[in-house]
Amino acid sequence: MITESRPRTLAARALNALGSTPLSRRKALWGLALIAPNTLGLFFFFGIPVLMAFSTSVQEWNAIKPPRFVGLDNFERLISDDKFAQALTNTLKLIALAVPLEVLLALGVAVLLNLPLRGRNLLRTAYFLPVVTSTVAASVVWTSILQPRYGIVSRLLEPVGLGETKWLVEPGLVLIPIAAVAIWQRLGFDMIIFLAGLQSIPGELYEAARIDGAGRWGRFRHVTLPMLSPTTFLVVVLAVINSFQIFDQVYIMTLRTVPGGVSGSATTLTYFLYRRAFTHSEFGYASAIALVLFALILFVTVFQLTIQRYWVYYEAEEG
């Protein structure tokens, strides 16, 4: 047995950090080399602006005059700002509404469209269509569809007495169409990822399960779901990250009525941040909001990453 003496030089210590054996050290170097282009690119082109934005959070800046250092004032203001609290509540409501529905519907559609049905290519394209339809065009259409009395939705709901509902104006209702359009626009995206995941499940596993006597539902529960779990994890994490930042739907669907909703009822965190920055020229405050939003998303994502060991099954051990 060879015992290695304690490394003294910096180079030796660095080498040791990489790994205890020459093989593991080589692998570590390879790993670092492989990730270098993407990581360095991301850090340079996006990491730097993010740091710049976060550093503005302790300043007061209107984009023209030189910034002024104000310490934690922006954060103190955040805590007591009703409008921020409202934006936060609206965002959380949207996430609760949109994410489970979006993921479940996308999973259901992907499973159905994975079955040998005729014309499924066309159907998949139909479900993908909202993803590529321009947000402006889609929102113009949805606003027309939701118009009380004349819009299609209102005409359909007239028999149940909801034909006069002012979906985009009533403060208590406006989040519903926004969530609906957000789901509508993102469903195809999740569906594609699920389809890719479903396609990666080896056929032999289904055969084995069938031989063991599992029925359709049994195969779904015991083969599909576990093997799909890394994909499901990906979809859920991305859906949450995305929903925390909902902006386009709010911006365009409330543009023709009251931007941001009557009394801020449709304002999400990102929309609130945007208005503070570009309408009120409070870029310092907006950066503080961005930082808090980031911390929230990070917290939720880390939470999801930690609990993934309880439900996500990886075929290969992480090398």
Partner: protein, 288 residues
């Protein structure tokens, strides 16, 4: 193709008729909701301006003028084809670039242990958690500092790096059993060869998903190109369409015609890439 489909339907994974009907009913209802705005868009693209925004709204144009609106679009926006070309250049550049950088990085994160791996991955992911509106001005200042304003460099280079693609591909690589790769390594292949000859071919569905999503995101990018590259030479089609909205008057029929033209390439691409989603079942097997 019909015979192939017939065989597929009659394969051992046969579906009974009631189940098929059930599936179709749900899928078609959902599909209708999905395509309705697009159909509306197409219908509006063919309406004369007199019929726009008529109350109550009419679905089909009484007097379809598709050809005239197309001509009107090109006379209002004579460089529209150039915008489409610019979008194509940017999209292809970004997608190929990401394919290289992100598959390398995803492979590195998935198969190699190195100090700081978890932290670096988390930091990359963290970049997805900041809304673009918050970094709009710093991003503009960075591109300006580099002297890249109004160039294709600004549109393509930053877009060759992606945290989303990294995440997607890493998850996909983690789902592949290591045995095949280890076999190749024992045979003396270096990681790049393993990636190219073993891992990537086994990840075709994920790569197809990556391609579709990345192409779509690049093609529909609006805010970033608007801020850094709005000169007529580098203008992309999303901005070209937005310019149809005037200060006082927006010809919605032309706007929808432009949006329709911009959507069609995406659909064609998606239909073309469909076959790669079907590839998986045949390729996923590993004998233990």
């Amino acid at each position: 193709m019909w015979r192939m489909l017939r065989r597929r339907v009659q394969s051992s994974h046969d579906l009974s008729i009631p189940i098929q009907v059930f599936c179709y009913a749900i899928l078609l209802a959902g599909a209708l909701i999905m395509v309705l705005p697009f159909l509306w868009m197409a219908s509006t693209a063919c309406k004369p301006s007199v019929e726009l925004n008529r109350v109550p709204v009419t679905f089909l144009p009484e007097n379809p003028v598709c050809r005239q609106n197309l001509d009107a679009l090109y006379s209002t926006s004579p460089h529209f084809n150039r915008y489409l070309l610019n979008s194509a250049i940017v999209t292809v550049g970004r997608t190929l670039g990401q394919l290289v950088t992100c598959s390398l990085a995803a492979y590195g994160f998935a198969r190699f242990r190195f100090p700081g791996r978890g932290v670096i991955f988390a930091l990359c992911l963290a970049l997805l958690m900041v809304p673009f509106q918050a970094i709009l001005i710093p991003e503009f200042m960075l591109i300006r500092k580099l002297g890249w304003l109004n160039t294709f460099k600004a549109l393509i280079v930053p877009g060759t790096f992606s945290a989303f693609a990294l995440f997607l591909l890493r998850q996909a690589f983690l789902q592949i059993p290591t045995e095949i790769e280890e076999a190749a390594i024992i045979d003396g292949a270096n990681p790049l060869r393993v990636l190219w000859h073993v891992t990537l071919p086994l990840s075709v569905p994920a790569l197809a998903a990556f391609a579709v999503i990345t192409v779509q995101a690049a093609w529909n990018d609006f805010l970033y190109p608007l801020v850094v590259s709005n000169s007529p030479d580098t203008r992309v089609v999303t901005i070209g369409i937005a310019l149809l909205q005037g200060e006082r008057r927006t010809p919605y029929n032309l706007l929808m015609m432009g949006s329709f033209l911009a959507t069609v390439p995406m659909l064609v691409l998606f239909l073309a890439l469909q076959r790669y989603f079907i590839a998986g079942i045949a390729m996923g097997g590993v004998k233990r």
